[in-house]
């Protein structure tokens, strides 16, 4: 009898084990598929097609009467013309107006502007200079060179025509155009032209926003947790607060966005699209998460420690701040970082307060217009250009990397603050 029952128990155990392993494998496969497909789509955005131009400039044109550099004169100069005439030297056969237009379409529409910025940064001495610079090819030429634009479809349906393909190929043959590391992606903010668009603006926007979030939510949540655990008198009001804190954690994030819109923007008149407002809204959203985690963490500290402090004549606040809080720190930090990771990936509330705007400047203060990484991804994935597709994939990988490093930080901080008993 017993032997029989043992056999069936063993069989059940094995089956359960198999279920467990299967579900873990399934989860891992899904995760790997996701990351690999995003990675395959996004890796090519690490490179960008550049072309080399030899250009001569006379800096004397850009100084005012006293000889000091004059930005105004620099801005007024026809940089596009300079780039275009330099490009035409490679293709003297192009004469026709329409043909010229097609030729200029293979280089970035921002090439002139980029050239100006390069010259500005170089701070050349006075006189005439000849230098060779690398400028972006257009996103279509870039996609063609990466093999991401199919040339099998009829010419009229294609974003790049046969003539343009021939020009690009000839530039590549002459070693004037090639794929180089896409530095722009990591050093600039958004742009209408994929080749000039980068994630730095949104990364900094996210960082500023999260800074506000943590500064706002962490102290409030920890104080609330201490109050609820140690000071609140049990009763209807405390129960009501408890239930509502738990309810808040389940409120859809877009509702917090609407709240931010009506309270922070309409009532308090804070600036639109600002990391300050984004941070406050996300802070409100993460508040219940951190409160719940902090309370659990405070509750897990043995009461004997608190009694020891009270028995020595410490006040309730001293017992909480000197003894319980330091011991509860690892748990509170873990909860905080989970909340922060949640806030980092949140798009909906930011849409409501205007952080979905197209912003080409890298934000520098808490009130300057900014966007956040998930919003940037959302906007790029919505764009028509093929080149934005790979860029949004790479940005997703970046966001994931950001999240992983935050979680690593949580582990490190936990290890650091954890005390041995």
């Amino acid at each position: 009898m017993i032997r029989k029952s043992i056999q069936s128990r063993r069989a059940r155990e094995t089956r359960l084990k198999i279920y467990g392993i299967t579900s873990i494998c399934f989860a891992l496969i899904m995760l790997a598929t996701l990351l690999i497909s995003i990675g395959l789509n996004g890796y090519s955005a690490l490179q960008q097609a550049y072309f080399k131009l030899d250009i001569s400039v006379n800096t004397e044109k850009f100084v005012d009467d006293s000889g000091a550099p004059d930005n105004n004169k620099m801005n007024l100069f026809n940089w596009d013309g300079l780039v275009q005439s330099a490009l035409r030297e490679f293709f003297p056969e192009v004469k026709d107006r329409d043909e010229k237009k097609e030729l200029f379409a293979i280089i970035s529409a921002n090439a002139g502007y980029d050239l100006k910025e390069i010259i500005k940064k170089k701070a050349l001495g006075s006189g005439s200079h000849t230098l060779s610079v690398w400028l972006h090819l257009s996103d279509d030429a870039d996609q063609y060179l990466k093999g991401r634009l199919s040339i099998d479809i009829p010419e009229e349906d294609r974003r790049i025509n046969n003539k343009q393909i021939a020009w690009v190929n000839s530039l590549v043959e002459r070693d004037i155009a090639k794929l180089k590391f896409n530095k722009t992606f990591f050093t600039s903010a958004d742009s209408r032209e994929p080749e000039s668009a980068g994630i730095l603006g949104s990364v900094i926007g996210s960082a500023l926003t999260l800074f506000v979030t943590i500064m706002f939510a962490l102290p409030l949540a920890v104080m609330a947790a201490i109050y609820l655990e140690y000071f609140a008198k049990p009763g209807k009001i405390t129960d009501f607060i408890e239930v509502n804190v738990n309810n808040l954690a389940a409120v859809p994030s877009i509702v917090f966005g609407l709240l931010g819109l009506s309270v922070f923007l309409s009532t308090f008149g804070l600036p639109r699209s600002a990391p300050l407002v984004g941070g406050l809204v996300l802070g409100l959203m993460t508040l219940p998460t951190i409160i719940i985690a902090s309370r659990a963490s405070i509750r897990s500290i043995p009461p004997s420690i608190r009694e020891a402090a009270l028995g020595l004549g410490a006040s309730k606040m001293q017992a909480a701040l000197h003894h319980v809080l330091p011991l509860a720190t690892p748990g509170i930090l873990t909860g905080t970082i989970i909340g922060m990771a949640q806030a980092l990936g949140e798009t909906a509330p930011l849409l409501m307060i205007g952080m979905v705007a197209f912003i080409i400047d890298i934000p520098t203060t808490f009130t300057s217009s900014a966007t956040a990484m998930p919003v940037q991804i959302y906007m790029w994935s919505d764009s028509a250009e093929r080149a934005f597709y790979e860029r949004s994939s790479l940005a997703i990988l970046f966001l994931v990397a950001f999240l992983i490093s935050m979680n690593l930080l949580a582990v490190v901080l936990r290890k650091k603050f954890e005390k041995k008993w």
Binding site: P234, P302, S304, I305, E307, A308, A309, L310, G311, L312, G313, A314, S315, Q318, H322, H323, L327, K419, K420, W421
Partner: protein, 252 residues
């Protein structure tokens, strides 16, 4: 003999449940008083009334009066924080803070501002450790974690920590229940020395311990004070049948 504590008709209830009833007893100064009785008889509850540690427990209500040096400790002008500085407590389970030995002892003086500078603080810590008989054992590792010490040493750290605030009374709630006989003997020896300058009240499950260390003993049973007398009397000629039964091991 002067009384340190004078309690009259103390009654404590947790919610609807009465933990102790009608406890009236006087505790004498500078001796060791033992509170004995079976589990759940209310002796720890009574002890915790004496420095208002019951305040921390929700829905705990106290009736009657407790006077410390003729001052009602539940009176409106008494701050429990100040009271606990005068009436220190050592708990059943050694509960040193997970900090260095030095910081453990120095915590009380620090929060009460008993030392005006570092060298004074150091003196207080050293004196307290000396009085607790720990100095020789820990003098080279004052910066080590107190939680790394042995159980007996941890409990003596807790006693030293209580002494450092220079209280008038030290309450001990079964301080030796988790210790081996050697560590217990050390703590009992320490109590004997300390009772010259402090009033000590100890709750214990061990009747031998009560007989060994205390001068007076109170026997509690089911929330009532059954008998309170000199320890010698209680253990040789108890007046009450229940006391007789308990000390001879017929129940409890």
């Amino acid at each position: 003999m002067t009384s340190k504590f004078r309690t009259k008709k103390v009654e404590v209830s947790y919610g609807d449940k009465k933990a102790i009833r009608d406890i009236s007893l006087d505790i004498e100064k500078n001796i060791i008083t033992a509170l004995i009785g079976p589990s759940g008889c209310g002796k720890s509850t009574f002890l915790r009334c004496l420095n208002r540690m019951n305040d921390v427990i929700e829905n705990c209500s106290i009736k009657g009066s407790i006077h410390l040096d003729e001052q009602d400790i539940y009176g409106p002008d008494i701050d429990p924080v100040e009271l606990r500085a005068r009436v220190g407590m050592v708990f059943q389970k050694a509960n040193p803070f997970p900090k260095s030995i030095f910081d453990n002892i120095a915590y009380g003086p620090r929060i009460h501002g008993l030392a005006s500078n570092d060298s004074e603080l150091k003196d207080i810590v050293h004196n307290s450790l000396e009085k607790a008989g720990l100095m020789d054992e820990v003098k080279d590792r004052l910066n080590d974690q107190a939680t790394g010490l042995s159980g007996g040493q941890q409990q003596r750290i807790c006693i030293a920590r209580a002494i450092a605030v220079s209280p008038e009374v030290i309450l001990m709630d079964e301080p030796c229940s988790a210790l081996d006989p050697i560590a217990t003997a050390k703590i009992e020896e320490l109590m004997n020395e300390l009772c010259q300058s402090y009033t000590i009240i100890i709750v214990t499950h061990s009747m031998q311990q009560a007989a060994r260390v205390s001068k007076k003993t109170a026997f509690f049973h089911l929330g009532d004070l059954i008998e309170y007398n000199d320890t010698d009397k209680i253990f040789t000629q108890p007046e009450n049948q229940k006391t007789q039964d308990y000390i001879t091991g017929r129940f409890g």
